[in-house]
């Protein structure tokens, strides 16, 4: 009998709760992570250069706030991709992957819904962690903006889950415990233009970035950081693009996973 989505979600929320309960340092590190990332970029930048150059090149009013928000988004994205892509490699290490694949529940369903609790939590924690700083810089308006950013990041999570399943499929197809997909996370962030405009990247990377959801999440954040009251129609444009990417990636991810899983079973690499 196949397991319901609700049961998978509940089990994984419980597992996650236990992880954090038994490892409070892990929870703390998730909260301080965006500050650390921002600290390194800002410290290096200020000690070697100046804040004005950054403001001028990126056309943002508050560089500190922008870097903080970008770091939080970057860490959320890393959290989502790791939750899905590392799921297969972790179970392969533990020797439980064959059992998961052999259960009557489809692997796609297990993979997708097992990683949703981790993804939702890591996004919420990353964004919540920067809320005090946002409140300090922009007050109540900043809180409204952060709520919109949270919404955009959750929307950005949907296509990213599809990409992550494609990445997980690659690790499923490899014989052995090799982690072949970890470089895709920084690659996605690199082409998304986390701390710099996408225009400075080589042309090929700019083309690739057009289909990467994180790019639009970061651009929306930059847009929110630039204007006091941002124009709604531009924000909606980001929503539309993310919706199209969600439909695109999630429709092909199930097919890719199924094909690679079938091939891996035949080959005996699971």
């Amino acid at each position: 009998m196949s397991i319901s989505i609700w049961l998978i979600l509940r089990a994984n929320f419980y597992a996650l709760f236990c992880w954090y309960k038994n490892n409070k340092w892990l929870l703390l590190s998730l909260i301080i992570w965006p500050y650390l990332m921002s600290f390194v970029i800002l410290a290096m930048g200020i000690l070697y250069g100046d804040l004005e150059s950054f403001k001028e090149r990126l056309n943002v009013a508050n560089p500190v706030l922008y870097i903080l928000a970008s770091s939080a988004i970057a860490m959320s994205s890393v959290g989502i991709i790791d939750a899905v892509a590392n799921f297969t490699i972790y179970h392969r290490w533990l020797g439980t992957l064959p059992y998961l694949v052999m259960t009557p529940t489809r692997t796609y369903k297990v993979l997708l819904f097992s990683s949703i609790p981790d993804s939702i939590t890591s996004i919420a924690l990353s964004i919540a962690s920067i809320t005090p700083a946002v409140m300090y810089f922009e007050g109540i308006l900043g809180i409204t903006k952060i709520a919109i950013v949270l919404l955009i990041v959750y929307l950005g999570m949907l296509p990213l889950l599809g990409i992550s399943i494609i990445i997980a499929s690659l690790t499923l197809g490899i014989r052995g415990e090799e982690n072949v997909a970890s470089s895709l996370t920084p690659f996605i962030l690199l082409v998304s233009g986390v701390f710099y405009p996408v225009e400075i990247l080589p042309r090929v990377m700019q083309y690739i970035s057009a289909v990467i959801p994180t790019r639009y999440v970061i651009e929306a954040t930059r847009f929110l950081a630039t204007y006091t009251i941002p124009e709604a129609k531009i924000l909606f444009a980001f929503f539309y693009i993310l919706t199209i990417l969600t439909i695109g990636y999630n429709s092909i991810s199930a097919f890719i996973l199924r094909s690679i899983e079938r091939w891996a079973r035949k080959r005996g690499s699971i």
Binding site: N23, S29, A43, M44, S53, F54, W93, I200
Partner: protein, 269 residues
């Protein structure tokens, strides 16, 4: 009766070379990951630097990244590897086979140094592409080598120290990165000590890596170390020797603790 030392060293090196050859894809992937993360940080930091100052700042930034690479690889590939080592139950297995877990973990330095070497070469090529060959115009090669060797030994000892701690406490791996980030800036690795604010200068002096880093910077661009070259050479040698002794001692204590109480780590480093 235990096996001769040379046989143990050979066996451990062989184990890591075998793993290294077996996980070629993981190795390639790890190197690419490092380069990509560096690219993200470099591009971010470069947005702050006026274009005309780039040739002056670039060599310092490049060698800072080299040092950070050595430190973080030792931390992750020795200290962080305990996630795998503990989850697989290898600590107990090695102890039952009369092999000290610390010896197995020291062998990881081979993997760490290989990753660092390849990553540094590739990052160097990227930097040369951006700012030209100015980054490899070295003022004093001997000082650069001394600084890098001391830094590598310190990093390996620190990795071992973390690995030992991870067997008995529940500190997650992400905190290793936290420490790396902090050390990079306020530890005098990423930025010369004399460029730091006054309060942080004292913090940087207290962090062991800063002394080796000052020697490296003196070798690369001829910046006079904050405490003077002779003093820095003396202090960094002293710290290196102390760290070797301390890491061996700490691992002995932790191994005895494990024999009596078992591994308490939750495996997620």
């Amino acid at each position: 009766m235990g096996a001769p030392l040379i046989l143990k060293v050979r066996a451990i090196l062989w184990l890591h070379i075998l793993r290294f050859l077996r996980f070629k894809l993981s190795f390639t992937n790890y190197v690419i990951t490092i380069i990509l993360w560096y690219a993200i940080f470099i591009l971010g930091a470069l947005m702050f630097i006026p274009r005309e100052e780039l040739p002056i700042v670039a060599p310092l930034t490049f060698w800072s990244l080299v040092m950070w690479n050595i430190i973080s690889n030792s931390v992750w590939l020795i200290g962080g590897w305990t996630w795998f080592f503990v989850s697989q139950g290898f600590v107990e297995e090695h102890m039952l086979l009369n092999t000290r877990p610390s010896a197995v973990l020291v062998g990881r330095a081979f993997t760490g140094l290989m990753v660092s070497l390849v990553a540094i070469i590739l990052v160097m090529l990227v930097f040369i592409g951006i700012v030209g060959e100015v980054i490899i115009e070295i003022q004093n090669l001997a000082l650069l080598i001394i600084g890098l060797i001391e830094l590598t030994i310190m990093a390996i000892c620190y990795g071992l120290f973390l690995a030992a701690l991870s067997f008995v406490i529940r500190v997650p791996g992400t905190l290793l990165d936290v420490a790396n980030f902090v050390v990079f800036i306020i530890g005098g690795v990423g930025v010369p000590i004399n460029k730091l604010p006054d309060v942080l200068k004292y913090v940087a002096i207290a962090i062991p890596y800063s002394h080796a880093a000052e020697i490296v910077r003196c070798g690369v661009v001829g910046i006079e170390p904050y405490l003077g070259l002779r003093q820095e050479l003396f202090i960094s040698s002293l710290i290196t020797i102390s760290m070797i002794i301390a890491s061996i001692y700490i691992f002995k204590i932790i191994e005895n603790h494990i024999r009596r109480h078992g591994v308490k780590a939750i495996g997620r480093m």
